[in-house]
Every structure is written in structure tokens, then in C-alpha cells.
Subunit: 138 residues, 2 copies
Amino acid sequence: MNKKSKKPVQAMLRSIGVIRSSIKKRGESPMQGSEGAPDVWLEIDASLSDALDGIAAGDELIVLTWLHEADRETLKVHPRSDPKRRLTGVFATRSPDRPNPIGLHPVKVREVSGSRLRVGPMEVIDGTPVVDIKPVIC
Amino acid sequence: MNKKSKKPVQAMLRSIGVIRSSIKKRGESPMQGSEGAPDVWLEIDASLSDALDGIAAGDELIVLTWLHEADRETLKVHPRSDPKRRLTGVFATRSPDRPNPIGLHPVKVREVSGSRLRVGPMEVIDGTPVVDIKPVIC
């Protein structure tokens, strides 16, 4: 952060891999992983495979994605796209539409195969970039 | 995601605000918020205040930060900087040093004052950019 400037900091996020899923379009996806989402493959860039060392089947992880089809200008939404629910700030919701469309996905590791991880359940579309993987925090 | 290219996707992350903390240097910070970290102020950009609508004192949130002093080339670390623990891939740890140094911080909202939120506990240094705020997921 540049303390001398009021200009917002910008940082370049690099994808570390990609999701391979049977869900091909945004409308086909359940709203949360726990609502019937399938397992997916995380194809992690082979140059980063050292960073996966220590992850094994059965682990619980949080996968961070970049929700590349989201609208970054949206500041308020009806929660769960339900027009009966009052407009709410996106920071109080899990809407994919938000200034920085980072998705957080708690998953379980089913299988590790080289730099590919089978994990689930996960409610994102095929081709979604992965930006980080972390152990669960709660 | 550009499916035709193998080139990693890059996306520009914008800070939505900044942390104001009594912790001024990385070495002064506890490793986790629950290990004696202080409360902090999140100063959210006033142009985004609509996106905070619905957040109130007592809420439990996850704050996403950009750990701007991290080393993005590190792929393995000794967990908790303990040389007795074996080198582990950063995706299996919460090391700030990782390809995309996004921090996840579960916090409780103490006070809302316009576009400023008092939250805690939080183990990041003063000046850390905030990139997203979400409801808790577990």
C-alpha cells in the first residue's frame, strides 16, 4: 500500500490452475457447493506442483477462484437472486458479482494425481481460474 | 479464462480499502488472529459504501486482504516458521508467502461508522489493502 497516495492499490492476480467441471454455464450451477454441486478436477500449473506437497485425499481445503464471468460494478443484489429479499450490499452476501470476484469454496480432497486434485463439492463452471488453495480456517 | 491459450490468466485486483492497525511491521504480528491480534479499522473506499449495506455490529465476516509484503515466488515453507517442521507446499499452509498472497481473516464486527468498520481480531499490518468482505462460510 502506498501510504502517500489515495489511489487504490492494484495487484496482478495470476491463475495457478483451472477448474474442470461438468457444469458448463453459470445458470446450471447450484448457488452453494452444499446444494448438489459435483466434484471437479483442479488442474494446477505443473510449475507449481511443489506448492501442493502435503495435500492428501481426505484433507479439507478452501479453494479460491476468480469468478471470471462476474460483473465487477455491482454493489447491491437481492440475496440468492430472490426479488422478494431486499437489496443488500454485496459485501454482506456471497454474490459472485462484486468489485473483486474471488470465490471461496470449502471442499474435501477426494484424490491427488500429480498436480491434479479431485475435490468437491464445488459450484463453479468449467474453465474457472483457480488463484489459491488454503487449509480450512474454521 | 481463455480456453484456447495455455497462458495463465491474469486479473487485476483493486483494493476496496485499507487496514488501520496498531501493528506496524510484519514481525510484530501474531501468526493467527486468534493468537492475541488486536481489533483494527477497515477503511472502505467511500465510493463502495453501498456494498456494505446490511453489515452490522455482531456480524461474523471473512475479510480478504492482499498481503502486499509477501514473497510470491515461495512454493515451500516450514509451517509456522518452525525449522523443526518439514518443508511443506504453501497451498497446504497459511503462509503469507505464496503465488497470490490473499489473506483470509475470520473476524467479528465491533462497530460500523459510515464506510469504516471496526473488526477483530486481525493479524495484519497497518496499511494492508482489503480486497473483499464476505459472510462466514462455515
